[in-house]
């Protein structure tokens, strides 16, 4: 198979399924179900047409980029589906504040549902989608974005809910942004649409993670019609295969609003006799084998169905599933001191020093799976 990067100039109806599959993989177990976003995206493309996919250098320097994401509980947004005009209200508020309309929509979080739904919002607004996002994966908190790491002040959050309220927040920093936005979200019924870190294209350089939309589509396409979907996905991601086995134990607990848990995967086939445990807080954060960490946040850890290579989200994990755990490097931005302070293991309460997944793999000998 030819691996030349495909220039993706627009997102069509046919691209949505691949994008959704890819976003699920990049969701590392969290980020919400991709299906509702895919349904909304297909619906909006049918009604408003294809969505152009643009790179940063295609936008004028002063063009406003509108990062949009759904915030709230996935169970709620799967039931209380978004209204059609929420993105329009946010765009109008942005224009009121900046005196000019946004020029492009950006996904705040490519992992999970928030990677797919922006296609619908962009289509509705008649705007292109920027081929970038603010995480390169999924994270649970508002300040865990590339803009925060890049030192851009979080001085504006615009939110709207299903009934039409628009809330504009001028927080003093990213942590307050998270705190206030979360409170607004609760008042809005645990589901809202949000724009934060509205930037000019010039400010975006170095402050967003570029190429992630086309990467998600490529990841989704990699398994299409592949004879060995798992191998194809592993190669496309450049992932380390941590273990192939079955989900032997799953302990869930909900604390502090987050679904926490521990999943135990017992090796089968070549991995028989090995056991991997995954620490989960909405996303898969730390993978441990024999007391040794094999991958940790902010590197990406995703559980996939061994046969189909379809990503399995945290809420979809079930005792007995045949799964493979893949891990691969995060964007370099997350490996900077500020990046690790923001979303490294300690940011999630794990008292451990970050070690890149590929370094752990290369230092642990040949038994621990192949680094592609």
């Amino acid at each position: 198979m030819v691996k030349a990067p495909r220039m993706q100039a627009r997102i069509t109806l046919e691209d949505v399924a691949a994008l959704a599959r890819g976003c699920a993989v990049l969701g590392t177990g969290g980020g919400g179900d991709v299906r509702p976003g895919a349904i909304a995206a297909r619906r909006a493309i049918r009604e408003y047409g294809d969505v152009p996919l643009v790179t940063l250098n295609e936008l004028p320097g002063d063009a406003l980029v509108l990062p949009l994401s759904g915030i709230g509980a996935p169970t709620v947004s799967n039931e209380m589906v978004h209204g059609a005009d929420e993105a329009v209200r946010i765009a109008e508020e942005i224009e009121r504040i900046f005196g000019r309309p946004p020029a492009a929509v950006m996904s705040s979080e490519i992992g999970g549902g928030n990677g797919v739904a922006p296609v619908a919002w962009a289509a509705r607004l008649g705007l292109p989608l920027l081929d970038a996002d603010a995480m390169g994966r999924a994270f649970p908190e508002v300040q865990m974005v590339s803009m925060y790491v890049a030192g851009i002040p979080a001085n504006l959050v615009v939110m709207t809910d299903v009934v039409g309220n628009v809330v504009t927040i001028r927080p003093i920093d990213g942590l307050w942004s998270e705190r206030v936005a979360r409170a607004v979200c609760v008042a809005a019924g645990s589901s809202a649409l949000m724009a934060d870190y509205v930037l000019t294209a010039r400010e975006c350089a170095g402050a967003v993670i570029e190429g992630t939309v086309s990467r998600a589509i490529a990841v989704g396409r990699a398994t299409e019609g592949a004879a060995d979907p798992l191998a194809a996905l592993t190669a496309e991601l450049g992932a380390v295969r941590l273990i192939t086995g079955k989900l032997a134990d799953l302990e869930r607990r909900t604390t502090g609003g987050f679904a926490r848990g521990t999943a135990t995967i017992e090796g089968t086939g070549d991995d028989r006799g090995r056991t991997l445990t995954l620490e989960i807080q909405n996303e898969n954060l730390v993978a441990v084998e024999d007391g040794r960490v094999r991958a940790m946040v902010p590197d990406l850890i995703t559980v996939v169905d061994t046969q189909t290579a379809t990503a399995i989200q945290t809420e979809g994990l079930r005792y007995g599933q045949r799964v493979t755990v893949l891990a691969w490097p995060c964007d370099p931005l997350w490996r900077t001191p500020k990046g690790l302070e923001t979303a490294g293991p300690r940011a999630f309460g794990y008292d451990m020093d970050y070690l890149p997944v590929e370094e752990i793999a290369s230092s642990s000998g040949p038994t621990s799976g192949e680094a592609a």
Partner: protein, 515 residues
Amino acid sequence: MSTTLRVGIDVGGTNTDAVVLDDDDRVVAAAKRPTSPDVTEGLRAALDAVLAALPEPGMEKRVKRVMLGTTHATNAILERRALGRVAVLRLGAPATTSVPPLSEWPDDLRDTVAAGAAIVRGGYFVDGSEIAPLDEDAVRKFAATTPADAIAVTGVFSPAGADQENRVAEIIRAEIGDVPVSLSHEIGSLGLLERENATVLNAALYGVARDVTAALHEALRSRGLEVETYFAQNDGTLMAVDYAARYPVLTIGSGPANSLRGAAYLSGVTDAIVADVGGTSTDLGVLVGGFPRESAAAVEIGGVTTNFRMPDILSIALGGGTIVGAEPRSVGYRIGTEALVFGGSTPTMTDAAVAAGRGTVGTRPVPEEWRERLARAVRAADEAVADAVDRVALGRADRPLVAVGGGAFLLADRVPGAREVIRPAHAEVANAVGAAIALASGRLETIVPASGAGNPRARLIDKAKEEAAARAVAAGADPATVQIVELSEIPLSYLPEPAVRLHVKAAGPLARQAG
């Protein structure tokens, strides 16, 4: 002799099976007939055959109940045939308008079913407050201007608050009279679009349910049978016929559930792996406490995604008619002429099993020149079965494997991953037995607080249990013996107060008939 009898019928892909059971659940007669394209003809044939197989003349007069597991509803959706036109009403605006009803339906099915759709103001937030007061004028206007065979009503968060949906039903009754209405909180669980899809399919199937019921009653009447009729639903339990008439969509996928329940009954075990070996495939499922373990995956029917709870079934291409060297192809119902042991020229898994000494099927021995190849096929099949058992067993090797279905003899007497292999009597008609012995059930899903804080949570859980039990009684269960058979909680993330999705199922034996 005053004992009553009941008939269980299960319509499968290849065969329609029928059994007669007595009051002690003993199998009195059994029969198997090919499933006809229109389903009903095969059903009549199986009914005739099983009545003819009764050991004493006149016994059929003692049949008081008939339980039917059928594919009528599934076929109607797959073939877009005999479906009613449905007015689709959603309560939720201004929320939910980004995805109108039926957005992802295949065009031909939407064209067949949709009489019109509207999203009116209404629905609830997760905390039970209203997104908007129900727009009753809009409901009236929609009902009056959208002629349809049935109306499907889906309100946001109706599984946690059904008042608005119930109010819509009242308005429709007052406005246009007796058109049937499907309310989503009675059909499915959380997940608006999937529940709405299931509710619309349910409304589209009312006519099919009427036709099947009429055909069944006509068949019974013309055979002099005066009986109560029940339909099997997809979780392995029964619905009284008037209940099934309101929830026809729940009959979809009853076959695997029947076979699992039948296996449980015939073997006397409640926790087991069940392998149902048919003509083209083997379906493996798991019994937990006597009920099928359910799948968490979304179920697609005719191109429409629903959130039904269906049995968790793993199918492998191993059946009595499976052609050795050309798997997964099968000779199907031609086994009796094409297999080597019947003098044919096609090597099948039936031949392989006979050659391995696992059965004595056929009219002649397996030709010597095939033996080595067939032995290899048996080894490969045993490995495939062992792997499948391991996959469904979730790592537990301490449970028995119950082998049922017409091809059960294909399975070895020892299967890795299973404590033992049980081959109950009448295993070949386990699915029909499952239909005949099933309980009636009701289920409910809602949201409750996750932790202690005393009364609200406990009260909500009690209320959910009561409602599930009431639904089981409405489906035909005896109020005196109905009990909660399942109660599970799944934590929800990102909510201000920790909450769980509560799933409750109640079931009980059918209420005794008067007289």
